[in-house]
Subunit: 181 residues, 2 copies
DNA sequence: GAGCCCATGTAATCAGTTACATGATTAC
DNA sequence: GTAATCATGTAACTGATTACATGGGCTC
């Protein structure tokens, strides 16, 4: 895509919290970041090797019982420094990209029903996502009662909530506007 | 990226409204779609040739006074059929990707001030975008009074408004949460 | 003559997904 | 035995941006 390769940052970030293998890093990203960030194995494994070569990670072969051996990576002081450096830098904003809006904007070439169906499908998918966010929120608020220091995870979940709720509201608005046209 | 190539659809869509050259198509996309869709020349010109080869577009060389000649493309009946077909198909939802949220989620490794600065920068950029949307909205509502059929453009602008407003609200919420931590 | 807009295109580069390959272990 | 999970990796493909090249005409 010729946008800069950011794969190393989620990896460094995840490894700043615990030592993990590539396979486990993938799982953590899916569990914790997947609603706003994703990485595939095809990116993770080569990046891990590179980061190790650059001295941002150390690695250790670990034997497991009942499972294959794994290579566990550990972030180095140099790796932490790079992570902190990146955290300081201005955020590169990525552009929105929405096939739904693209279809909507050429909606005059199909039936209103078709367009309304697309909007409705979108709304249903959002409702599910919103429910997930609400579950995350409840869990995080419980944790936060004991550890009021790290509200960061909660803040990202609130972003999801706000976004999905706004989009649901927009769906209602859009359906109303298209209904009597 | 291995996500399917959609470049042809904005091109067909734009050409369903007026006959244009590649250069003009780029301008139209920037003017009308850029807040949720973008295409570069590197995609547009090769795609135009391909669409012409497939018979979805016709082309004509047009001389201009005071400007270089241009190749104006015109959508064919076959092209319109492909556009309508795509409009019927279910929307492929693309994933959110946010470097801001990524930085936030590892925010415990830097100062609260740094994170708040990122959020604040984001909020300022959103305010500008929101103002733009409001201008678009006013213009479109004026047009809509005379032509109450095609509310589609307006609906996409309302999406922008809703999204940006929600994100601004989230910024306030986030700053408050981070403020007393 | 410098710099900008119009106009079209290609090449280089890279991001990122998907498919494929391999192999261990566990559970049915 | 076969499917599922754990674990690691490579190769193929392609989407998409950016840079580069070219050239006409306009404005200062």
């Amino acid at each position: 895509m010729a946008r800069s390769n950011k794969t190393k940052y989620p990896i460094l970030g995840i490894l700043s919290q615990e030592d993990l293998s590539g396979y486990e890093i993938k799982k953590r990203i899916e569990e914790r970041l997947s609603f706003y960030w994703n990485e595939s194995f095809g990116q993770i494994y080569p990046t891990l090797k590179e980061l190790r070569r650059e001295g941002l990670l150390g690695s250790e072969r670990v034997a497991q019982e009942g499972k294959p051996d794994k290579t566990v990576y550990k972030i180095t002081e140099k790796g932490m420094a790079i992570l902190r450096e990146w955290l300081e830098e201005p955020v590169e904003t990525e552009r929105l990209r929405s096939e739904l809006l693209l279809k909507l904007s050429f909606g005059n070439h199909t039936s209103t029903e078709t367009i309304k169906r697309h909007v409705d499908d979108f709304r249903e998918s959002l409702k599910k996502k919103l429910k997930l966010m609400e579950i995350f929120e409840r869990n995080l608020r419980e944790v936060l009662e004991d550890h009021p220091d790290h509200p960061y995870q909660l803040v990202t979940v609130l972003f999801g909530k706000k976004t999905y709720q706004a989009w649901i509201d927009w769906c209602e608005e859009a359906l109303a506007l298209l209904g009597n046209s």
